[in-house]
Amino acid sequence: MTGLVKPNYSRPLDIKHGRVDMSHGSGGRAMAQLITELFAAAFDNEYLSQGNDGALLPQETGRLVMATDSHVVSPLFFAGGDIGCLSVHGTINDVAVMGAQPLYLSASFILEEGFLLSDLKRIVESMAQASRESGVPIVTGDTKVVERGKGDGVFITTTGIGVMRNGVKLSGDLAQPGDKILLSGTIGDHGMAILSQREGLAFSAPIVSDTVALHRLVATMLDSGVELRVLRDPTRGGLATTLNEIAKQSGVGMMLYESAIAVNQPVEAACEFLGLDPLYVANEGKLIAICAPQDAQRLLAVMRAHPLAEAASIIGEVQEDAHGFVQLTTRIGGRRVIDWLTGEQLPRIC
């Protein structure tokens, strides 16, 4: 009988009950199916659908910026986000704080045998949504599968390319004594969201990760014409680590005001409880800006007018210091060093 055999038919992936197996990374039909039905369907864009080994992109005028970031966060799903949107935001932010307009992303997945396809679908859809909302398409990707026990569900590496805005010169070595240091909002939200979930800590108000793409905020800040010298997103190691990096690069010291650094109350409580200092806890949706002193108030106004930086504040200033100390004037009026992080405060945070 004819009609029963469908030469081009293959049964769709069983997303609901299925799991990743070794064939999904073998390069064969199973892998092609996973890519088509899951990744390509979600990320859908003209570059990805070229279907080649790489994406052919239009010509750009201007210098290019490229950044890459691997994501190994545990747990994979947390309040305010998941590894998927985190991997999109993280790389967009790295490109954006260079002073560039992010244009394209790549995404590379290392999947562990046995990982639930339903979880993978949630993650991929979250990435697709983050990418759509940001206007930065995922144009190429890769998938590998490792044996059970050799990974931890899924690891995602994303790489981003952006084009530098004309006339912008931002670098960690440009901070000068007298410059003002601005912060776009509260600190420690992402790290404590992860940790409180991991430790099963429940607070009256849940701690929500601040993961978000910052490129539009950056664009607004650059459009304002303010003389920006340094932009950074204080992720792993938190505000303290990022400021120490800048101080070292620029060969300067800094003085911060503890009372100007905002911390959400549940985050403060969780840090207190676990003996952590929010200055060292990771953020995924905040940025530090260093600008000329005469521009600080104008920049502050521009930031506060943007929904992603309503709680922005001037948290300190750059000062001359041969030793490169980042110092803090404490709330009670004493002074102390804010040092580099020693050891590992929170592993697998992003």
Binding site: E272, F325, R331, I332, G334, D339
Partner: protein, 370 residues
């Protein structure tokens, strides 16, 4: 944050600071030892030195659990993990305490030993239940604050009949260490003590009375918030000015004279005094530490595995001993901040954020550069 912000209020701190400056008039100065690492940490983290006159000196005491743990005790735990293949569980900072041969529990772990960081003694019991075929040893360190949870775990293990769980008991006692300091040469130079916060919630204020009565040293028990410490300093200054030596309690929101009776009874049920115990810095101090009572001896890892304690001298360049006795300041050690840093500690005082050297390095070292 309620109950916290009140004790970190900048305006009140300035008021107390002004009172101290006005009242601390003795020309010979005020040498005050804060016994606890928790106070050392608070003093450094909030920069309290900036709120005190120059002649009110704070001397860091030995009340930091990992700081006083001698090399031989860490060696013992590494030996158990490495040679007996036990799962060795302990609290975080202990992992980085330097041991013999440039080792530490952290390095032993990197070399394949099964060393696990835990947050609570309950985690250690959980591991013991999960791995019935493995021996699980909890390296139990700390002063009176961490002793009740260990006692509880041992009692629970006995109740459940957990045969694969034991402890290396390195719990030490605060009053014994204060006696040792006062009996030593540095003791006479001290004018008073800022007394422990959390330790005192367990043991109460009564055990400090001999220091006031017999040694004539005022003791003011203080909480770990900056205003607690400032207020305690003011209370000490007033006692010294008046020629009084009493035990006063600034931390009344948590400490009573008798302490936590339930916790004390629990500890007494499970532990009794060791004849002597070697402390880093203080040497062998009689009746200064605890061991399991005979009825719980099945949970004593020293007996179970027959590992005797072997004393190991400290690194010769390291001044931890003098620093722990309050005779030297961290910055007076030749290797402070050069060979010995929090990332590569040579001495135990550079390990925990409560250690004098780590606190000064991490929070206060800009003062030397000025």
């Amino acid at each position: 944050m309620k109950y916290i912000d009140e004790f970190r209020n900048g305006k009140l701190a300035k008021n107390i600071s002004a009172n101290i400056a006005r009242e601390a008039t003795s020309l010979s100065g005020y040498k005050l030892m804060e016994f606890c690492g928790g106070h050392t940490h608070a003093i450094s983290r909030y920069g309290l030195v900036d709120l005190l006159p120059d002649h009110v000196h704070l001397i860091h005491g030995p009340g930091c659990p990992v700081c006083v743990l001698p090399i031989g005790r860490v060696d013992q735990s590494i030996f158990l993990a490495r040679e007996h293949g036990v799962i060795l569980c302990t609290y975080a900072d202990t992992l980085r305490v330097p041991a013999s041969d440039n080792s530490s529990l952290m390095r032993a772990r990197a070399n394949g030993a099964d060393v696990r960081m835990i947050y609570s003694t309950q985690d250690a019991l959980k591991i013991a239940r999960e791995y019935p075929d493995r021996e699980v040893v909890f390296l139990a360190i700390g002063f009176e604050t961490t002793t009740p949870p260990t006692a509880w775990a041992v009692r629970q293990a006995a109740f459940e009949g957990l045969k694969n769980f034991s402890i290396l008991c390195d719990h030490v006692l605060t009053p014994a260490a204060m006696h040792a300091i006062l009996a030593g040469e540095s003791g006479t130079a001290l004018d008073g003590f800022v007394g422990p916060a959390h330790v005192s919630t367990i043991i109460g204020s009564k055990p400090y009375e001999p220091f006031a009565d017999n040694y004539g040293k005022p003791v003011v028990i203080a909480g770990f918030e900056p205003l607690d410490v400032m207020q305690a300093i003011l209370m000490l200054v007033r006692q010294i000015n008046d020629g009084r030596a009493m035990v006063e309690n600034e931390f009344t929101r948590a400490v009573t004279r008798e302490g936590n009776l339930k916790a004390k009874a629990l500890v007494d049920e499970v532990f009794h005094l060791r004849d002597t115990f070697e402390w880093r810095g203080l040497g062998s101090v009689p009746n200064s530490a605890l061991k399991l009572r005979p009825r719980f001896s099945a949970f004593d890892a020293e007996l179970k595995f027959g590992v005797d304690y072997v004393a190991v001298p400290d690194n010769r360049a390291c001044e931890c001993a003098a620093i722990l006795r309050g005779q030297k300041r961290p910055q007076e050690c030749k290797i402070f901040g050069t060979v010995c840093t929090p990332d590569n500690p040579v001495g135990s005082c550079m390990v925990s954020s409560e250690g004098s050297c780590a606190a000064h390095y991490s929070y206060g070292r800009f003062r030397e550069s000025a």
